[in-house]
Symmetry: C2
Subunit: 502 residues, 2 copies
Amino acid sequence: MAKDKIRRPRAETPKGFRDYFGAEVTARAAMLRRIAEVYHAYGFDALETSGVETVEALGKFLPDVDRPNEGVFAWQEDVEGSKPGDWLALRYDLTAPLARVYAQHRNDLPTPYRRYAMGPVWRNEKPGPGRFRQFYQCDADTVGAPSVAADAEICAMLADTLEAVGISRGDYIVRVNSRKVLNGVMEVAGVLDPSDPEKFAAERGIVLRAIDKLDRLGTEGVRMLLGEGRRDESGDFTKGAGLGAEQAEVVMGFMEARRDTAEATLARLRELVGGSAMGAEGVEELATIAALLDAQGMGSDRVVIDPSVVRGLGYYTGPVFEAELTFEILDEKGRPRQFGSVAGGGRYDDLVKRFTGQAVPATGVSIGVDRLLAALAAKGRGEAEAQGPVVVTVMDRDRMADYQAMASELRAAGIRAEVYLGNPKNFGNQMKYADRRGSPVAVIEGGDEKERGVVQIKDLILGAQIAKDATLEEWKDRPSQIEVPRDELVARVRGMIEGQSS
Amino acid sequence: MAKDKIRRPRAETPKGFRDYFGAEVTARAAMLRRIAEVYHAYGFDALETSGVETVEALGKFLPDVDRPNEGVFAWQEDVEGSKPGDWLALRYDLTAPLARVYAQHRNDLPTPYRRYAMGPVWRNEKPGPGRFRQFYQCDADTVGAPSVAADAEICAMLADTLEAVGISRGDYIVRVNSRKVLNGVMEVAGVLDPSDPEKFAAERGIVLRAIDKLDRLGTEGVRMLLGEGRRDESGDFTKGAGLGAEQAEVVMGFMEARRDTAEATLARLRELVGGSAMGAEGVEELATIAALLDAQGMGSDRVVIDPSVVRGLGYYTGPVFEAELTFEILDEKGRPRQFGSVAGGGRYDDLVKRFTGQAVPATGVSIGVDRLLAALAAKGRGEAEAQGPVVVTVMDRDRMADYQAMASELRAAGIRAEVYLGNPKNFGNQMKYADRRGSPVAVIEGGDEKERGVVQIKDLILGAQIAKDATLEEWKDRPSQIEVPRDELVARVRGMIEGQSS
């Protein structure tokens, strides 16, 4: 290679980022719109913060405790004079900015403040298959409401939201649990000391993460992580919480405490938390949530009390919840598996305190929009691909004005339409273009048609069918291309398109 | 101050960033949706790229040549082993990512590729009043179409878009010009040498920027910038292009070449470009554009040929266009002034070439969504503030389930509703909250009402009016609070809300 060869920039997204085209964009926009409608009906107001925050405001609340070293995209502001510039970063979720907004504007905001937010967040993580460094979140939170009625409301709203975006009842379940109950159980098992909350902190963290892996590892895997530890298929060893067999059994008993009815589950939990005051408080909160959901007609086919849900995040302090899709899809190896979690949340009472020194109760949920879109696509209930435009072909490049007038008339009648704007010389290329665009109809007007006051309209959907499998009779009966008077263009194109969907 | 005082993080957006609340968010979303509908009708497909690109891919195409030193937000990826990390940056517009996408995916995209994109962009600039470092752009571009029919289409679409978002015909004008004509005029004036395009480059840049300031500086100011230079009110001196008086007159003549009809303007331009081949080509392109717009019914009340439009960007190579709102608003000092530009664009044929080595013709427009929203608000045509929720008040905190059931019934009937979730002790606070939320109706059910099977519903809009200016008779005739049977709750609340808007 010659040294002086011009080095061209690579036309590539940065690693772990991707582009979204056409229906990928519009399907997501439509889903966000539907979610916003439900949130709005529940009294939530929109909030949009910028993508950039100060690192100081974001804090160290990176939510995934499994990967504490994974970070944010950050940079330092230019120095001005002798003052060092602030460190700025892209937001990694929508909760940290909410805490900042509430602290900043609390005197002007209603209390409680119900807000929803939707938009991209960024994580400076190693990208992997299907794992991107920018993705959408869609959150609803209530700040300043201490009552678990706020948690119950969020769970009900989550169930309504899933149905609004097209997940049928029976294909999802919202599961609710309480960190307080879990703490009570850990007290009973001796993994938590209520008189010294810092004691056993590491062990508690391991217990939390072990339970959170129930779906992935099964009960045996979790049991190993509660005890000495677990070696995975690749040979990597994960150190366990070091619980004794009896202690582990208490925790396992908690995870498996779900019964057929909320009443039975609550009764079982009361047994398990024994004399723990915090545990008892948690159980009564769950009982309140169950009663409130019942009053709103949220049956156990929609929301259930399920002690196996713990959510990984360290900052939850009370109720936690998760929405799971219960239908099976085929994984990359063709094996059926449950689709799994698409949303989660819980109560976190300390995020605003960082700024103001005062604890502010808050609870909220985050929906993984991209996973939900994938789920709908897997069920064949994705947004239909938008119809391509009617393509007005160019037979005579000196008559572009005539062609533009046709496209303009079609659009005025509500029909998506455009004139072919590539090089018109090769008519075959024009038809290939129309095909690639998914056009329903092509319009053709050469000099001869112009003189006779007619146009040709070609049914591209029928044309493709005929080319594929029509008999000669069918071909004759339903020609895919017809000649129509110029002044009937709009009506005849509309008729042709309507015929395609019937 | 004690040294060991805990330093709390500041609850602030970074300098030059801001938050958007409620109707600010939903009004923008509604506008983007309407714009997308028009773009879609014209055959454009959605594209969403990520906020982050490699600096290499973005290149040095920062669009505002007036501030070449203003930059992007950039940072370097973590080093992996011995390999230095890529430099990444936030996108500063939606055109540079489009060039990257087209170069990357050109074999899979239709040609021509019509795409629209909407989303935030970031500029690492000094923030100022009303000038933010993150703002929305909303672009439509056609890549791979050499014909000026593509430019004409964009101009027509821009006019249709402005009307679709609520700008009346007569309140805007789309102005079209051609860089080729300007180049022709500069050839005639001796500011451009067609045999040596690099000669006079600096002078040409100054001429371009001087013309672009016509709105702000008037003809005398521009004349000074074409000559020796101009000293502004603060005493700062801007060096001029150094044109002689005769040369400057040629350029001024070009800027003022607009006549009453497109034909007359084109005739005047033909005179001005004299023997310049490039100038003549530009004039014929403008003539084609005028004819195409005419065929689509775009009269001179919507789109005009206007040589005073040049657009600041260095990369335009052919037609340039700008949408201006023509009505007056009051500036910060209360003086009437024209609202000015809300969208602009033009033909740029070299952006993709950076990647592929092959010139790819492209043309497009960018709408300043935030400015357009401000314009609609100034005209009193902004999105109506969304109605607040019906607030179900809490008289008895043990009956939250009853209250949630009411809110649930109201929502099921399509009425935005919520239960008060703050501390219910002080009923006055509940009413203040409802007031702050802009609630139309409050629902009240104490123990007494519960027993009698009724609820109180309070008309908060009427209540506020009565409190303000009602006579005693009106007060008696239309009590703002009425008692209704519990099972008529939904119907009576709906009736009350409907009564408010009549």
